[in-house]
C-alpha cells in the first residue's frame, strides 16, 4: 500500500493496556495498520487483521500518513518525535500525528509548533473511559488542535471512541483531561469516605450504595467502583500510579494557572503513600485504602 490521503495507512506507537485495544479498533475500523515497538521480541498478539510491524520509526513514517501515539507521558512523546530515533525527521510534509497519550498541555503545544514548522499536523487527543472503553471503542476523546488537523484526525479517532470533542487549539485536549483527572480524584475520595462511614457504622454498604446511586450523590464512581472499595479489592481498571502521574500534570498546570485545588492535592499525597506501599498497580479505586487506613479498617 502507498500512503493515501483518503484512507491512509495508520502507524501506531504504544501498545500498552490502553494502546493495544485502541490499535486493534483502528484496524477493525478498516485502516491498514503498521506498528512499531521499542522491544519487538515478545509476540505482537494484536487481535486485528493485517497488521504490519515496522523495524524502525523511519520505516513506519515512510508507510504511514497518520501516526497515533499512545505512550506513558510527555517525555516519551517528545522522545519518539524528536529524540535520537526522531519520527519527526522521517514524516512527510502533510502527515498527521495524533497523540492519545496524557501529557502536559505544554508538551502538546511544543510538539504542535515543532511539527508545524516541518509541515506536519499535530493534535492532542487524550482519552477517558478506561480499558473497558478502549476495548469497546467507546472512549471519549478530548481533542486539541487546529481545525483542519482535527477534521483529518476525526475518522481515525472515531474507530477508537464514541465521542470526539474538539475543545480548542493544541493543548486544549490535555487541559480538559487534567480537569477530568481532578474531578475523578475528588469523586473517588468522596465515595471512599461514604463507603468507610457506612462500614464503620454497621450499615449494609452495598444496600446504601444502591439506595443513594439514583440521587444527588450518584456518580459513575459510586455505580462502578464503590463495590471494589467495599470488598477492599481493586482489579484494573486504571492504574493508580498512572492517575498519580496525571495528577502531577494537573497540579503543575493548576499552580501555573493560579488555581488551588486542595482535594486533588490531598489525593496526590495519599496516592504517593499508597504507591510507596506497593499499591500503584492496583485500580485507582484503591485510593479507598487510604481512607480505610485512616479509619482503622485495615485487612
Amino acid at each position: 500500500m502507498t500512503p493515501s490521503r483518503s484512507r491512509p495507512r495508520v502507524g501506531f506507537i504504544g501498545l500498552g493496556a490502553m494502546g493495544r485495544p485502541m490499535a486493534a479498533n483502528v484496524a477493525r475500523g478498516g485502516y491498514e495498520l503498521t506498528v512499531w515497538r521499542r522491544d519487538p521480541s515478545p509476540p505482537l498478539a494484536l487481535d486485528a487483521p493485517g497488521v504490519a510491524e515496522a523495524a524502525s520509526l523511519a520505516e513506519l513514517a515512510a508507510a504511514c500518513a497518520v501516526v497515533v501515539l499512545c505512550v506513558s507521558d510527555g517525555p516519551d512523546v517528545l522522545d519518539v518525535l524528536f529524540g535520537p530515533r526522531a519520527l519527526a525527521d522521517a514524516l512527510a510534509p502533510g502527515s498527521l500525528v495524533i497523540d492519545c497519550s496524557t501529557t502536559s498541555p505544554a508538551v502538546a503545544q511544543d510538539a504542535a509548533a515543532r511539527l508545524g514548522a516541518r509541515g506536519v499536523d499535530f493534535v492532542d487527543a487524550p482519552v477517558t473511559g478506561g480499558t473497558e472503553g478502549a476495548e469497546r471503542g467507546t472512549l471519549t476523546v478530548l481533542v486539541g488542535g487546529a481545525a483542519a488537523a482535527v477534521r483529518a484526525a476525526e475518522p481515525v479517532l472515531a474507530t477508537m471512541g464514541s465521542r470526539i470533542v474538539h475543545l480548542g487549539p493544541a493543548g486544549a485536549g490535555q487541559r480538559a483531561k487534567a480537569v477530568n483527572q481532578v474531578i475523578l480524584a475528588g469523586t473517588y475520595l468522596a465515595v471512599a469516605e461514604g463507603v468507610v462511614l457506612a462500614l464503620r457504622t454497621g450499615l449494609d454498604p452495598s444496600a446504601v450504595v444502591d439506595a443513594l446511586g439514583t440521587g444527588a450523590a450518584g456518580s459513575w464512581v459510586l455505580a462502578h467502583r464503590a463495590q471494589r472499595m467495599i470488598d477492599d479489592d481493586y482489579p484494573l481498571g486504571f492504574r493508580l500510579a498512572l492517575h498519580r502521574k496525571d495528577l502531577r500534570i494537573a497540579l503543575e498546570l493548576a499552580a501555573g494557572a493560579g488555581a488551588s485545588l486542595p482535594v486533588a492535592a490531598l489525593a496526590a499525597t495519599l496516592e504517593d503513600g499508597l504507591i510507596a506501599q506497593g499499591y500503584g498497580d492496583e485500580d485507582n479505586a484503591a485510593l479507598a485504602r487510604a481512607i480505610r487506613a485512616l479509619s482503622g479498617l485495615t485487612q
Copy 2:
C-alpha cells in the same frame, strides 16, 4: 373522620421548603391531612385538597394515627415529641411517628425507645432529592425502624418518594443519610475543582463539563450543579447551611465510630467560612465559592 388503621388521617409537622411540598403530596395521595404550625398566623398556603389545621399538638394527635415530622434538626424533633407540648403524651398507643427530618442516629434511637415504651411506633425516614424531588414526589427515603413499623409507614412514604429503602433498625436511615451528605460534600468539591481548573486554563468550561459528563468523571453534581459553579450563581436547591448542619451530624457520627473523613472535614470548614460570609442561604453548590476564592476567581 375518626382515625382509621387502613387509611389513617395523617398529621404533618414542619412545613418548610421540603415539608410543604411533601405534605401536599401526602394529601394528593389520598390521605386526610391535619397540620400543626408553631406560628399559625401566616396563610397556610398548602396546595392540596381538604387540609385541616390543629390548634395544638394534642388536637393533632387526637385526630391522627400517623404523624409525619419534617423539622430542622434533632433537638426540634425531641422538642415536638417530648418538650412542653409533648406530642408523645397525646398519641394513642398504636400510633406511628415517621420522622423525615435529618437528625443524628442517636436522636432516632432515643425517640424510638421512648415512644416504644408508650406503645407508639417510630421510623426515621430522612429523604434525599431536594426540593425538586419533594415537589415531584420522587424523593429517595432512607428508612430505619422495626419491620412492622416500616411496613405501616410505607404507603404514606410512597406518596412522597419513589424509592423507599429500609436499611435497618431505628437510626439506620439517619446513618445512610449521613453517608449521602459525606459523598455529596466530596463530589461538590471535586466538581468545583474541575470547573475552576477549566476556567483558570482558558477552556470553555461548559464544553468540558459536557464532554466529561458521560465518562468516569460523571455525576449528578456535574450534570446538575457545574453550570451554577461556572456562572458563580447559586439559586436553591438545598441550602448550604443545612448541608453544614448535616455534616456536623455526619462528622460526629464518624468520630464516634472511628472513621476519619478528611474531605468531608475540609468541606465543613470551607462551609463555615462561607456561612460566616453570608452565603448560608445559597445552594450547596456555593461550596465552589471557596475553591474560586482560593484560585483568585472572585467576582
